[in-house]
């Protein structure tokens, strides 16, 4: 969701969305089979080939850490090595499914949905949800700093949590949304049924179709190997 991870030329957003669903569904469905690991490696390479190298590389340490955590928890719960490998493959499938989402600039997704005549309330809301993460992180940091300055005490105390964190945080959310709404309205956004222009329409090209077809072909091959 941060700008650093965005791909320079991401695939058509809805194809990216479909890719996430396909990888997730196939990865989880075939997690018990050993062949799935080759499929997941192939998907990672496929993403890398289509310009997702930043998020692909950033994913490696995060996926390794998560896999280690899940493997530990699963081994503690089941005492079975086979279960551990299944958990690792599941974790990798989830990590890879997240990849198109974190590499996609919010505005491209919104433009693609706008072209499909999705209601303005949904596209506008989605753009805000996608681009709000860094802002929210900064706000929480500021509130924590204010708490430290005032010597508010530990967050483990329910009273401190409520009075010094939750109330100021909610107040900040209200303030931010008011300012954001005003800013959005002055730029001519409205939720009614009025015609609007998309200045940079996002269209699916041959490259996008090849990307999706390659992924579908890989997924079908995996399903054939594992279940037929």
């Amino acid at each position: 969701m941060t700008d650093l991870l965005h791909a320079k030329r991401p695939v058509y957003p809805l194809f990216g969305f479909a890719a996430a669903l396909i990888v997730f569904a196939c990865g989880l469905a075939a997690a018990k089979h050993f062949e799935t690991i080759w499929y997941l490696c192939g998907v990672w390479a496929w993403f890398l080939l289509f310009g997702y190298y930043r998020s692909c590389l950033a994913l490696l340490p995060a996926a390794a850490a998560l896999c280690a955590l899940f493997a530990g928890v699963t081994y503690a719960a089941s005492q079975s090595v086979e279960e551990v490998w299944t958990a690792v493959r599941r974790c990798l499938a989830v990590c890879l499914a997240v990849l198109p989402g974190i590499s996609l600039p919010a505005v491209k997704f919104t433009r693609a949905l706008s072209r499909l005549k999705v209601p303005r309330a949904v596209t506008l809301g989605m753009m805000i949800v996608l681009s709000f993460a860094p802002l929210l992180g900064r706000e929480i940091k500021r509130i924590r700093e204010a708490m430290r300055t005032r010597g508010a005490g530990s967050l483990l105390s329910p009273k401190v949590l409520y009075r010094a964190l939750l109330v100021p945080f909610a107040a900040r959310l209200v303030n931010i949304s008011d300012t954001l709404a005003l800013s959005v309205e002055t730029r001519g956004f409205c939720t009614g049924k009025v015609p609007y222009t998309v200045y940079h329409p996002v269209k699916a090209g041959v490259r996008d179709v090849i990307f999706l077809l390659g992924l579908v072909a890989g997924s079908v091959t995996l399903m054939v190997f594992c279940f037929i």
Binding site: L21, A97, G125, I128, V129, F132, S177, A181, V184
Partner: protein, 261 residues
């Protein structure tokens, strides 16, 4: 003379009545947001004959209008389903983002084979933030809008959660309309906010039953049903606490003058 006067008076009265009718029709058209051309057309149509009159009346009856951001029904009363303004959408989106980001701990417990554990971990934030949103917006469909925004992102990460969030939001809206007819009362906001997370449990179970019988949670529910029941009650309790906190925080913010309509 008297007869002449009477005829003249009658003519004046007729003219007045016609002018009053015209003015009221124009006013109604304005309220309905119809253009001047449309109103002229409608007048012409009304003169065409009585054959079409019942149909026109029927279409006129169906019309509702929006004035000052509030929708009124055919009788001029405030309608049940209000349109969402930009301010509402932005606030609900911000609230949805806050709920989603603070629920990022969910993947850490995703592989622990206890049914309902992810819902338990995210229960507080997933009920607190939407309740604050409902307390401010107070329009039917708010839960559905938040769920739609959140579930699209969830679909990227966990399709099962995305689907179940949407379905449970639909059910919550139906329950709210049946019990409270909107979010005017704080109790309505509390109940809907509290149900958002626990409602996903039965739907998630059904989803697993249909598509993911090998899922960790599905097997956990089958292996130890009493643990699943206990965790489900714990989820309900945590969500009730979250929704209660949401109502309290909203009241405080409103008292401070920050939460304006």
């Amino acid at each position: 003379m008297n007869k002449k006067n009477r005829v003249e008076n009658a003519g004046e009265e007729k003219e007045r009545a016609q002018s009053v009718e015209k003015v009221s029709a124009a006013d109604i058209d304005e309220l309905l947001g119809a253009s001047a051309e449309e109103s002229a057309e409608s007048e012409e149509k009304s003169e065409q004959g009585r054959e079409n009159a019942p149909k026109e009346q029927a279409t006129e009856r169906k019309k509702s209008f929006v004035k000052g951001g509030v929708r009124y029904d055919k009788n001029g009363r405030e309608a049940l389903f209000q349109p969402f303004t930009v301010k509402d959408v932005v606030f609900l989106a911000v609230i949805g983002a806050a709920a989603l980001i603070t629920s990022a701990v969910m993947p850490l417990v995703a592989q622990i084979p206890i049914f309902g554990l992810p819902q338990l971990v995210t229960g507080l934030q997933m009920s607190l933030f939407p309740t604050i949103g409902l307390m401010k917006v107070r329009k039917p469909g708010s839960v559905l809008l938040v769920a739609a925004l959140v579930s699209v992102l969830e679909l990227f990460m966990a399709p099962a959660m995305g689907v179940t969030s949407l379905v449970s939001a639909l059910v919550i809206e139906a329950v709210n309309l049946a019990l409270f007819r909107g979010y005017k009362k704080d109790a309505a906001c509390f109940v809907s906010g509290m149900l958002i997370n626990p409602m996903t449990l039965p739907f998630y179970y059904l989803y697993c039953l249909a598509f993911e019988t090998g899922s960790v949670f599905f097997r956990a529910a089958g292996d130890s049903p009493w643990v699943a029941v206990g965790v489900s009650f714990a989820v309900l309790a945590v969500c009730a606490a979250g929704a209660g906190l949401g109502v309290l925080i909203s009241r405080e913010i409103r008292k401070a003058g920050l939460m304006k309509k």
